[in-house]
Symmetry: C2
Subunit: 248 residues, 2 copies
């Protein structure tokens, strides 16, 4: 008996959406007894019953899609309301689909949970994470984290060359990562020597006061005559307030 | 008789400052009868008489510097006042320097002219352009243009993949370039087919009305269902006003 599944993307299109699409399609073929559809442009395509047959592409084409930028299937940031979730479940069941793979970030993972709750046991819903923040419990690293880690390692390395070349001795680089330190920690990856940027890294898992940062900067500045700081967007001060919010 | 020269950088540090430094030092060695100093951190280093001996580095080291990011000599955005220009001329002549090479963008080229006028014939001042805008008359292409052309070709190609993957059909990418179209024109360089982004390019050398742009977008949208526009920061509307200024 064939099990019918569907893949639905959410969020910004990136090569990792395509890689996950290819990985899912190839693995289901290997498992056998599966048939896979794809919703064009995410939930919007599901509600419009605009499906692609993902059993059709050759393995070669899927392997090429895995390396392509953008999204071969199409994505969207369309959020469903309550009636939308009920309609989505109805359409899925009408098409004999019993498994929905939702591929996206935090919003899409919440949507996966909501879809499963709405279906009440009639549907298997599986989230495939796509987040640069690497903040999904139970995963080692999420698709998306690798490329953003590389980006920030390079960006801070390059900012370090500016810092070395200009008489503007202190630079602060704010990283993405929401309230987890994975992206900020990655800024250390392109350092070759202890003199290379970043000289200071603050992780949002640990609160820090402005005074402590100033003392750290003073120490680095006395040693090197310059200082590059990497700090996460979600950093909190010693009172647990968003860092620097009172300065804005 | 040896001629003494000095190299002074201005503006943001980039690999092209280093490439120009190496090119100048190597060419003066080949010409013979030259001695070259470098001012640390631009005009600030000149006024502080903080010089590096650019005859000292080996050819191998200079060739390595040519490929390095940042600025080996140091740069600054320090602007001189009238007294500063007079002091600069006095210091240069005291050190027996009769040629000053100023390497930088528009501001540094203006400073070169002002320095020459202040010296009144006692000093040869030569500008070495460093500008992404490629807007120096008498040059074919300026150091800096190549890398920014590559950057924007890639950025618009990538934006085109987003445009293809999301149900947000019209995207506008604003490029650098001041009031010249070189950078904007470069966005066409990564296109492989007529369907690739950018679909429309507007160059600031030609004024354009909002109505004309909307008609162009409509035409592209009817054909492709999407449209990516590349437009220069210095674009003007049909009345010669900064484009879109009335919307802000």
């Amino acid at each position: 008996m064939i099990r019918r599944a569907i893949l639905i993307h959410g969020g910004g299109p990136t090569a990792v959406l395509n890689a996950s699409l290819a990985g899912l399609a190839l693995e289901l073929r290997r498992a056998g007894h599966w048939s896979l559809l794809g919703a064009r442009f995410g939930f919007a395509g599901l509600l419009a019953e605009d499906f692609l047959d993902l059993d059709a592409p050759s393995e070669t084409l899927l392997e090429q899609i895995a390396l392509a930028p953008g999204s071969a299937l199409g994505s969207s940031r369309h959020a469903l309301d309550e009636a939308g979730y009920e309609q989505a479940v109805r359409i899925l069941l009408q098409h004999g689909i019993t498994t929905a793979f939702l591929n996206g970030g935090n919003g899409t993972m919440r949507a996966a949970r909501h879809l499963a709750e709405t279906a009440g046991g009639r549907l298997q819903v599986i989230g495939i994470p796509k987040t640069i923040d690497n903040d999904i419990p139970g995963t080692d690293h999420t698709p998306g984290y690798g490329s953003v880690a590389r980006f920030f390692a390079h960006a801070v390395r390059d900012a370090g060359e500016d810092n070395r070349s200009l008489p503007s001795p202190v630079m602060v680089v704010e990283t993405l990562g929401r309230d987890t330190g994975w992206v900020t920690a990655a800024t250390a990856l392109a350092r070759h020597s202890p003199e290379d940027a970043p000289h200071l890294i603050y992780l949002p898992e640990q609160k820090v006061s402005l005074e402590a940062i100033c003392n750290d900067v003073e120490r680095v500045f006395r040693r090197l005559g310059r200082c590059v700081i990497a700090v996460c967007e979600g950093q909190r001060d010693e009172n647990g307030h968003p860092f620097g919010a009172d300065v804005q």
